[in-house]
Homo-oligomer: 195 residues x 2
């Protein structure tokens, strides 16, 4: 096998969700479909490499300007910030159009197993942003997993005496979900938060 191909397969196999076998399949597909697949992906990747970066304010990823399109949008509320784990979660929330404030993207959730401490939450930056923009509410929108809930508690505790309200997304029955297929934890949460 040509060393160029081998090097590319190795690099692609390290992407999330891929392995040596799927990377090999992708590279063969790319070479066999030079014009329809490799060329557009190459130009698209080059474009993203040259033009896209991480927003210095909220850590969203977007085309390079001073700030991302959400942070620089004058029509969005500035007094409410939503904390999300990653950019995919941010995009998911944006797709529903249910939130029109600002975001704060974490570098990861707290995890002693994976060695992620409070510095991954960038809470001092978030606090400074809150003071500068008179933020009154922080919505913590993290997954309902152990790591997500630990991080949720840590953030709530951090802002307890700082005169900023912190809220979390509600737990309960998902829309369309049938009662007898629900797990005990969700059912318990739905009962506790009834209203």
């Amino acid at each position: 096998m040509s060393p160029d191909i081998e090097a590319l397969i190795q690099k692609i196999s390290r992407l999330p969700g891929l392995g040596p076998r799927s990377a090999r399949r992708i590279v063969i597909h790319l070479i066999r479909n030079r014009e329809q697949s490799m060329e557009p992906i190459l130009t698209g990747l080059k474009r993203v490499y040259e033009r896209v970066g991480v927003c210095p304010v909220c850590s969203n990823i977007d085309t390079f300007t001073d700030m991302c399109s959400i942070c620089s949008d004058k029509k969005r509320r500035r007094d409410i910030i939503c904390v999300v784990e990653n950019v995919a979660d941010l995009w998911a929330i944006e797709r529903t159009s249910c939130f029109s404030g600002q975001y704060h993207v974490l570098k990861g959730l707290l995890s002693s197993l994976d060695g992620r401490g409070p510095e991954f939450l960038k809470l001092d930056e978030l606090h400074e942003r809150c003071t500068n923009n008179n933020v009154t509410e922080i919505v913590i929108a993290l997954s309902a997993t152990v790591e997500g809930q630990t991080t949720d508690h840590y953030i709530k505790n951090f802002f307890r005496d700082k005169n900023i309200r912190t809220t979390s997304l509600a737990h309960g029955i998902p829309i369309g979900g049938e009662l007898d297929y629900l797990d005990d934890g969700t059912l318990f949460a739905a009962f506790s938060a009834r209203g």
Copy 2:
């Protein structure tokens, strides 16, 4: 979401084995790991795009020269050609170092469902190559699936009256395989070909 990112996600999601969700995950990973991941993949892809192509003789993929490294290797036998379905199969055979002849990579197996006829086998080219190089044996190394075996029969039939011996890989118990876990078809094939 930035249109550049969206376009790249869409292109990557069309690669084999990927979908919109895994493509999104890959693109976020690439942007977040600009120097360690996006940059090396971009240069690797550019290198492959500029330097790698399909061999005009055997359809193997390799760095651009007149022929691929297998076809131009003077130490390899020229009187035996192995027919494989795709380049991944060729690489698998090369990894075992059990074959030192030439290859003929098909464009695909015969399949009436997917509309692939005999023109995908490029048998006239293969025959011409056989005559020019005094090839005495064609080893047909195709998968033991319905399409693979149909194609195997078609190639055998094509070369029947052309004074070239055609052989196929043996069917039987895989090395390390336990008898009572084997399917009936394999067991039957192993009994028929006992020796």
